[in-house]
Structures are given as structure tokens and as C-alpha cells.
Amino acid sequence: MNRSPVALLVLTLAPALLGLAIFRAYPIGLAFYESLYTTIGGERIFVGLGNYADLFADSGFWKSMRVTLWFNLIINPLQVALALALALMFVQKLPGMALFRLLFLIPIGVSLPVAVIIWRIVLLPEGFLNGALGAIGLGPYRFLTSPDFALYSIIGIATWKGISYWMIFLVGGLQNIPPEINEAARLEGASPWQRLWLVTLPLLKPTLLFVLVADITINFLLFAPVFMLTGGGPRGSTNVLMYEAYKSGFVFGDMGRAMAIVVCLVVMLLIIVAIQFRLLSSAPAREGK
């Protein structure tokens, strides 16, 4: 009953903190450690930064890096913009909105592999989308097997699945804006368009930034659609770094290379998260919130 606070603290905190330490923090350290070794004929040999040197000299790695960066350059702004559009619709007060809100939320229950299976059939040359496009005289297109289309098809699938989730955070941000501010702007004669750009978006900036960064961290590590749909092809056009790491480690058995790629990914993500915290901690002062 009268345990000292120290014992109490240990009892309550230990399970969660130990879990996070063993299964989140330790693997990151281990990835770095294992990236310093290579396996030759079943024997582990210390190679220092050799795996990194090999990686940076490998054109396959840089091609995969380019695919990853290009993919992220398109998908993240696209998802945030569409999630914002959905959120602005979601908060409208019109009759029948309960049904539309439910429909907007439905893809949250759809996992990425489910989305992949559904869209794979929708996107077949004889599938639904080509049928619908055929009705207006277009196509048929090889959405998944053409190097010109495959990456964009994956962007489309991940976007369809992802934006409902990000919409939720933006809805929270929108509902946090006091309605009086918009009302005052309306009385001053600001048009709805001006109110969106001059009132709503500046006030929503911290939430938008959070969503953008969280979205980037997910999309940098996108794996399931590449694994299930394209295997990195056609002609390497969808070979993102996460899939390259998986192939190195779990298909070709080169764990050193796989871990070196994972370390590169984690370092890039930590830099992005650090930038976000920097921007967020200076944001409230500027906006007088």
C-alpha cells in the first residue's frame, strides 16, 4: 500500500519503457552494428564502413534512391492536399453529411494489402477502370506492367488508402480553430476563398506540418504494394529503398547491405522528424497562438 514512489514508478513505467527499449531502440542500434559486418560462407567478418562504401559506389542503390525520392516528392504533397480537401468537406454542415462522413472514413478499415488486391483487379487491362475509360474512348492501358505507369499506379493506390487517415488529423485541426475568427473575417467582407487562404490555412499550419511529416515517414518505408504488385519492376521503376533492403537481406542473404540501407533510411527519417520539431517549436510564437 505505502510503496515508495520509486518502486511505484518502476512498476508502472518498466513494462512500456522496456518494450520500447528492446523492440524499438535496440533494433536501431543493432542495425548499425550489423551494417558493419558482412557474411561470407556463413562466417561474419567485420568490414567497418565497407558496406556503406559498396552501397555508395553502387548505381543500383542510387537508382533505388532516385525512385524513392521521386515517389515521395509526388505522393506526399498529393496526399496532404487531397486529405485537406476531404477534411474541408468533412466539416461542412449540410443535410445527409453523416452518410458522406462515413463513406470518407471507410478506407481506414481497408488495409494496404486489401487495397492492393482490389486495385490490382480494378487496374487490369480487362478491369473496371479500363472498362470505364473505354466508355469515353480511352485505353486500354497497362497500368501495372508498363514502366511508365506502374509507379503512378502505386501512388494512386496508396493515396486512395491513405488520405482518410490523414484527413482525421486535419479535421481535428479545423475544429480547433475558433469559429469566431472566420465569422469576423466574413463580416469584414472576406470571400470564402480569401478566408480559406488568409485565415484557415495559416491557423492550420502546425497540423498540416505534423501530417506532412508523419505521411513522409510512412511513405519513405512503403513496402506492401511493391512486394505484392511489381516486385520492384518493371525495369526497376518501382524499386524503392525499402524493397531493395528487403531483397538484399531476405532474398540474397546479404544482411550487411540490408542493414546499411535501413540505417540510411532511419537517418533520413530522423532528420525529417527533427526539422519538424524545430519548425513546430517556433510556430506558435509567430502565429500568436
Binding site: A25, L30, P113, P206, M228
Partner: protein, 277 residues
């Protein structure tokens, strides 16, 4: 533009967006009730009949369950249920400690917890394989459950909520001689049901949707969970379109059955974490 015309336009935009948004899912549901050879009928040339389940049959669903999809669902419910139950206890305890007690280094530890959930699970899945194989858990259910129990976002949700509970409640219960565990159970937990629901849903959905980690951790595929099972199904029965749709529909249906009645809590919990996060 008059306000009424603008309202009508917004309404139309919302309706069209919602319709286009759920169209692929609708086609998948309708087509899962068609025989396989009628999957792509009514598409070339395109007619709206493509969106109806005709001719109607449940043969796809019968075939899926004959191929053992039932035990895959049971496996996943077990893993997700265990993770949710253990996760609620472990993360609520930690949130309680962070909210009620001051200790040196508290803000640094909290900072690490927040960073841990900004870094997605996928980032550490491959090195986690080495950790779990050191523990000898590869191909054991423990490999799926134990690493997912401690969750930074869940700790943060509970911390955020418990912090708002007036300290007087705690002091009053202390004066009446209640122990800390009793206070947590009979004062804090009943107040935090919405947080429990949103954290629980998050843990459940996270585990239900897990793909990369079960793929790595269960290489023997003796114990299959649903997302990996579905992907394997896709490889094996490439052209059993109606069965693939049926499997996808069932896989999506179960989290939706939880989400639709509880959406209010899920939305509140997540949206709140984003504003403060």
C-alpha cells in the same frame, strides 16, 4: 455566386467525391458475389450493370473458407486481441506514471516516447528480425504479439488524458487510504473509457493490418495472419478473381465492424494527438 448556389455546388462536390471514393470497394463487393467467369462482363462495352452482383452466387466465399481462411481469421483475431489487451494495460500504466509523478529526466523520456511513434514500425522490422531470432521466437506467436505491446502513441494518448484529470481526485482518494493501483482502476480508468477505446482500436487495427513484420517473423507460414495469408492467396490463385475479392472484403469488413460504431472515439483520439503532437 449566391450562397444557395454555392451550397448546392459544395454538396454536389461532396457527393461525387464520396461516390468515386467508394466505387472500387463497391465493385469489389458486388463482384465477389459473381461467378468467376462473369467478373469482367458488362465492362466492354461499359454498362452500370457492372456494379451489380449478377448473376448472384456465394461460391467465392464457400471456396475461401474451404481453403482455410477461417483459421487465418481466428489466428489474426487471437494476435490482435492479445496485443490490444496487453497493450491497454502496459501503456495505460505508463501514461498514468507520466501524468501523476514527477521524476528527474521525465521530459527527456517522454520526448523519446514521442520520437518512437514518429518512427514507423517498418523502419525497424528488419533489424527486429535479428532481435527476435536471438530470443528464439521466429515462427512463434510471441514474435507477433510481444514487440507490438508497448506503443508510444498509446502511452501518449493515456498521458494526455490522465494529465487533464484534476489532481484533487487523486489526493482525495489517497486521503481515504486507497492504493495507487486502486485509484487507477476505480477513478482514472472509468473516466478514460473514450481514450481506452481509441487506443484499443489503434492497437487492434495496427496488428490487423500488419504485413511486413509477420512476413519476416513467420517464415514457415504454419501460423498465418490475415494480410500475409491474403497476399499468399493472391500468388497461389492468380486468376480466382471473385475469391480474391471475397478475401479482401472479409479482411476489410472486420475492422470496419469495429470502426463504424466507434468512429467518434477513434477520430477524437487521433485528431487530439495530432494537435498536441
Amino acid at each position: 455566386m449566391s450562397p444557395t448556389a454555392r451550397k448546392a455546388l459544395i454538396y454536389l462536390a461532396i457527393a461525387v467525391t464520396a461516390f468515386v471514393f467508394v466505387l472500387p470497394l463497391w465493385w469489389a463487393i458486388a463482384s465477389s458475389f459473381r461467378p468467376n467467369d462473369a467478373m469482367f462482363a458488362d465492362l466492354f462495352p461499359f454498362t452500370p450493370r457492372a456494379l451489380l452482383p449478377e448473376p448472384f452466387t456465394v461460391e467465392a466465399y464457400v471456396a475461401i473458407f474451404e481453403r482455410g481462411f477461417g483459421s487465418i481469421i481466428a489466428n489474426t483475431l487471437l494476435v490482435a486481441g492479445l496485443t490490444t489487451a496487453l497493450g491497454l494495460v502496459v501503456n495505460a500504466l505508463a501514461g498514468y506514471a507520466f501524468a501523476l509523478f514527477e521524476f528527474p529526466g521525465k521530459s527527456a523520456v517522454l520526448g523519446v516516447v514521442v520520437v518512437s511513434f514518429m518512427l514507423p514500425f517498418e523502419a525497424i522490422a528488419m533489424p527486429l528480425y535479428s532481435v527476435v531470432s536471438q530470443l528464439g521466437w521466429i515462427d512463434h506467436v510471441a514474435a507477433l504479439v510481444v514487440p507490438s505491446v508497448a506503443n508510444g502513441l498509446a502511452v501518449f494518448l493515456f498521458y494526455q488524458f490522465f494529465q487533464q484529470v484534476p489532481k484533487d481526485y487523486y489526493e482525495a482518494a489517497r486521503l481515504e487510504g486507497a492504493g495507487w493501483l486502486r485509484i487507477l482502476w476505480s477513478v482514472y480508468v472509468p473516466l478514460s473509457l473514450p481514450t481506452c477505446i481509441s487506443a484499443g482500436l489503434m492497437l487492434f487495427i495496427f496488428q490487423w493490418e500488419a504485413f511486413l513484420w509477420p512476413l519476416l517473423a513467420m517464415p514457415a507460414q504454419q501460423f498465418k495472419v490475415i494480410q500475409v495469408g491474403m497476399a499468399a492467396f493472391q500468388d497461389q490463385y492468380t486468376t480466382a478473381w471473385n475469391q480474391l475479392f471475397g478475401a479482401a472484403v472479409i479482411t476489410a469488413l472486420i475492422p470496419m465492424l469495429l470502426l463504424i460504431p466507434l468512429q467518434r472515439y477513434y477520430v477524437q483520439g487521433l485528431a487530439g494527438s495530432g494537435i498536441k503532437g
